[in-house]
C-alpha cells in the first residue's frame, strides 16, 4: 500500500481526491475491515475506500483495469440472473482482462471442473434480466439525489 488508510482519509478531506484515486491503496483493499475496527476515532475507513472505488470507476480512472473488469462482470451476471453464476462470471471477467490472465487461471479452472466445483450453464441472451427493474430504479433514485 502506497498510502496508509489514515493518510488516505486525511488527503480525501483536504480535497486531494485525484491523488488518492491514483494510489494503489484503493485497489488493494480487500474489505477486511481491520483498519476500520482498529481506528480509535471510529472512522469508517473501509466504507470510504468502497466509495473511492465507485468514484474512480465513474470517472474512468484507469489505475486498475482488472478491478474494473471484475466489478463489471460480477454486476452484469448478478443483474442478469439475480444470483451469481460463477462460471459465466469468470468467463466474462477473463474475456475482459485478456489471454495472459486467462491462461493463468486455466489450470485452476480445470482442477475445479474435475472436483465438481463448476456448474456449466448455458448463458441466457436477450430478454429482461432478473434484477433489471431493481437496478434501473436504484439508478433513477441515485440520479435524483
Amino acid at each position: 500500500m502506497d498510502l496508509t488508510p489514515r493518510r488516505m482519509w486525511r488527503m480525501t478531506h483536504l480535497g486531494l481526491v485525484d491523488e488518492v484515486l491514483r494510489s494503489k491503496t484503493v485497489w488493494l483493499c480487500s474489505m477486511c475491515y481491520q483498519c476500520q475496527v482498529r481506528c480509535p476515532r471510529g472512522i469508517p475507513l473501509t466504507e470510504l475506500i468502497t466509495r473511492l472505488k465507485q468514484v474512480a470507476l465513474a470517472r474512468g480512472v484507469a489505475q486498475s483495469p482488472d478491478s474494473r473488469a471484475f466489478y463489471n462482470a460480477f454486476a452484469q451476471v448478478m443483474r442478469r440472473y439475480g444470483r451469481v453464476r460463477e462460471f459465466e462470471f469468470m468467463v466474462r471477467y477473463l474475456l475482459a482482462t485478456g489471454p495472459v490472465k486467462a491462461l493463468g487461471f486455466a489450470g485452476l479452472g480445470l482442477d475445479m471442473l474435475r472436483h465438481g466445483k463448476v456448474r456449466l450453464e448455458v448463458p441466457s441472451i436477450g430478454g429482461e434480466g432478473r434484477l433489471d427493474k431493481l437496478f434501473d430504479r436504484v439508478a433513477e433514485l441515485e440520479a435524483q439525489a
Binding site: 474489505m31 465507485q54 444470483r83 460463477e86 493463468g104
Partner: protein, 294 residues
Amino acid sequence: MRYLFYPGCSADTSALEYKCSTLAVLAALDAEIEELQDWTCCGASVAGVKSPLLSLVLPARNLALAERKADHRDVLAICSACYANFRRTEEAAAKPATLSRINQALDVEGLSYEGTALTRHLLDILANDIGPERIAARVVRPLAGLTVAPYYGCQTVRPFSPFDDQERPTSMNAILQAIGANVHRHEREASCCGTSLLMTKPEVGIGMVAKVLEGCSGADCAATVCPMCQMNLDSYQGRVSSELGREVRLPVFFLPQLIGLAFGLPESALMLDRHLASTKPALERLAQPEVTEE
C-alpha cells in the same frame, strides 16, 4: 430452533458441500431450517462499488422476503460476506431516511422492508444457540488425534461481531473440542484470505493466502466458515508452495463437514471429495486406531 436459510450464490455451486453439510448437521441437532424462497444475491463486495444505495437494496430485498414470514425467524447466513452485507443493511435501516429510500427502490419488486429481520451467522448459531454441550452429546465418532486450525477470516467477525471478538475470535475452539479435535491456535485466525485479490491482483492475494496457511502449519487441517475463505485457502496451494519454496498441502474443511464426520453422517451429506487439496491425509489420521493409554 427455527431459521430461515439464505444460502448465498456460492453455496449452490462451488461450495455445495458447505450447504449440504450445514443442512445435515443442523438437522442432526434438531434445528428446523427452511430455505428463503426467491432469494437473490447480497451484492457481495461489488454492489457498493456500483452504487451505495444498491449495496443496501440488494440485501434488503432478501430481508423483506424474510419479514413476509409471520413468525419472524432469524435469518441464517453461511457466507461471511452475505452475513456482513445483511447486518450492515439492518444497521443502516435504523435511520428512517435510509429505510425510506431503500423502500422506494424495493417498490418495483412489490416488496417492503421494515428493518426488523435479524441475520445470524452459522458460527453464532452453532456456538450460542446450540452450544458445544449439545454438539458433544451428538458425537458418535470423536475426531481424536486430529489437530484443526480454526480460520474465521474477516467478515465473520468484522465489522459486526455481536458474538465474538473482532480480532481474536474464539467461538470455534469449544466446538472443535466438543467434537474431540485438538485446536491449533495461530496468529492468522482472523486475517484476510485475500478475497477477490486472488483474481484481480494474484501476486498480492497469493501472499495473503500464504500467510494464513503458514499460520495453520502444524495442524492436520483447517476449519472455515465462509465459501470465499475456503476457496482461496484450498485452491491456490500449488502457487503458495512455489512462493514459499516448500510444499504446502493442507486440507481445508468447512466446519460443519468436521462436525458431520464426528456425528457419523454419510459421505453424501459431507462431500469430502470436492476439495482441491485432498482431504485424505486428514481422514486417514482419523482412521488410525486410537492409542490406548496404559
